[in-house]
């Protein structure tokens, strides 16, 4: 579906060093899967998506989409994919049905075909009763579903979604996820960017973690968690005391104490297999362990009892922290 090798995007900046948004990314997206680009704001996700959508030319590297060279066949590729931009890009002055009409014409579709597909797609988007309403009367969640439905007007085999649920309330997010699952079940390949870990875990078969314009690691959510984390995470909150000092004392119980805070390179990280470790966050300690309850019992035993403690499953958020040394939420 998509094959990218050494993708670079540099933007010239006025009177300075050119800005490198994407710095050598390799991607392989297979037919029918949901593929995620995960990373913080400014990591290069959207720029990568724009290049895949053939609206931005790579500065260097090769990019093939649906077996076509993106540098040569941009228009043909755009004709066969669906794009859901971050800000919807709907025309808010037109009605829902008119947005389909306009968009369908961009793909060379006739009025009758557009009308027939619009009915079907509005049902899919659960907006069947909104066809004649102006877009600016719809809620954020409805608009996003509309944008996804509109992107399906050309019956694409590949749909690109740039942060599909950013800015939506939890209920709207779940409705949207469910719709995306349906698309996937029908055989549509999905590529999405997100900075939500739960979204990536929910939706993506495979994903790449991007930071600073580069792929830091790739795999299934489970693989990434297993590679970089323990099975469980014990979150420890203390009312008083220096967290760094407490971390050192908690760490004393680990077989192999490791430095935290700095971000070791993925290679080094894998080599060291630093799975059991303690991370210091501004408000709490994260104790990575395969058995959270046992670790907590041990901590109590060593008279390091926290104010509150929570044992949870490791998530992609923990992977990201392990890979980059920072949390995503900042």
């Amino acid at each position: 579906m998509i094959e990218a090798r050494g993708l670079f995007k540099r933007y010239p900046s006025r009177g300075g060093e050119p800005f490198t948004a994407v710095a050598g990314i390799d991607l392989d997206v297979r037919p029918g899967e949901c593929f995620g680009l995960l990373g913080p704001n400014g990591a290069g996700k959207s720029t990568t998506m724009r290049m895949i959508g053939c609206v931005s030319r790579p500065t260097a590297g090769s990019l093939s989409i649906l077996g076509l060279d993106a540098a040569v066949h941009g228009a043909a590729i755009r004709a066969r994919i669906g794009v859901v931009p971050q800000d919807d890009a709907l025309d808010s002055e037109l009605t829902v049905a008119e947005n389909f009409l306009v968009y369908g014409r961009y793909f060379g579709l006739g009025k009758r075909v557009i009308r027939e597909r619009t009915t079907r797609l509005l049902e899919f988007a659960q907006l069947a009763d909104k066809a004649d309403q102006r877009v600016d009367t719809l809620s954020g969640g409805m608009r996003r579903r509309l944008a996804i439905a509109r992107a399906m007007i050309n019956e694409p085999v590949l749909v690109l979604l740039d942060e599909p649920t950013t800015g939506l309330d939890p209920q709207a997010r779940h409705v949207l996820w469910e719709r995306l699952f349906r698309l996937k079940r029908e055989g549509v390949t999905l590529v999405l960017t997100t900075h939500y870990m739960d979204e990536a875990e929910q939706l993506c078969d495979r994903l790449v973690v991007i930071d600073g314009g580069q792929v830091v690691d790739a795999g299934t959510p489970r693989e990434l968690i297993e590679r970089h984390c323990t099975r469980e995470v014990l979150e420890l909150r203390y009312d008083s005391g220096d967290l760094a000092d407490l971390a050192a004392r908690v760490r004393g119980g680990l077989a192999q104490p490791t430095e935290t805070g700095a971000a070791p390179s993925p290679g080094v990280q894998q080599a060291l297999a630093v799975r059991e470790r303690v991370e210091i966050l501004p408000d709490r300690l994260l104790y990575y362990t395969d058995d959270g309850e046992a670790a907590l019992a041990d901590i109590h035993h060593r008279a390091l009892s926290p104010a509150t403690a929570l044992v949870r499953r490791a998530t992609l958020e923990d992977v990201f922290l392990a890979l980059t040394g920072r949390t995503l939420v900042d």
């Binding site: 933007y11 724009r50 959508g53 053939c54 609206v55 931005s56 030319r57 941009g74 228009a75 043909a76 755009r78 004709a79 066969r80 794009v83 931009p85 800000d87 890009a89 709907l90 025309d91 808010s92 002055e93 037109l94 008119e98 009409l101 306009v102 968009y103 014409r105 961009y106 793909f107 060379g108 579709l109 075909v113 079907r120 797609l121 049902e123 899919f124 399906m152 050309n154 019956e155 694409p156 085999v157 349906r182 698309l183 029908e186 055989g187 549509v188």
Partner: protein
Amino acid sequence: MTTLAAPAAPVPATADTSVPPRPALAELSYRMLLYRRTWRRTLIMSFVNPLLFFAGIGIGLGRLVDHSGGDPLPGVSYLAYLAPGLLAATAMQTGALESGFTAYQSLRMRPTYRAPAASPLSPADVLDGHLLFNGFRILTSCLAFFAVTAAAGLARSPWALLAPFAALLTGLAFAAPFFAGGVLATRQGTVQGMFRFIIMPLYLFSGTYAPVSRFPEPVRILAYALPLWHGVQLCRGLTFGTLSAPAAAEHVGYLLAVTAAGYAFARHAYAARLHD
């Protein structure tokens, strides 16, 4: 439950989806659809305002001019003199405003260029469609203005029927480069500046209200160098049937050259801004 895929195919078919045969028309039809929603808003700027200028200055100031013996054209009332000048100026106004501002808006404020940019259309197709729409806007506002002045008996020659088309050409000579300026501008102030420092002075010093020969030489040279004066000369010459063939060729040639250069510039700007 309905499915999104074509009934027979497990994977959605793409066979009937391709680049439209006349892609610019897809953008034109979008602009026309939107215009059906918004045309009332544009009446003031492109029709009522020129008529107000025409009536206010033409009748009010015209009385002073006509009685002072300062006839700009022998045997022609000031109102009749002003009508073709304002026709060309209206074309410029609509051409520049409709392109400079809507291009800026379509790229940055209400990003309506985003949808066609992600479709099989090329940036040039988007420009062509929008330019066609602006041609329609320029021509219709000029025809409306011309109809009023002709009804007032101010068209003195059968050639006058060509004046709205001369005005269209004038408008396009502004529209093309202003499309480029609109998508290249990164702040709204830049677009406003283009109107304040280019369109307004041209409005006043290109022979719209008074013959250019009355102005000091530097102003005159500048007026000759810029498109509006040529448009005014064309419209006025046609309205009174006084245009010579060589003069017509010169003005039309000049306006075509400016339009072509502006269009080439706009193609370049659209390619850079819609697809980076």
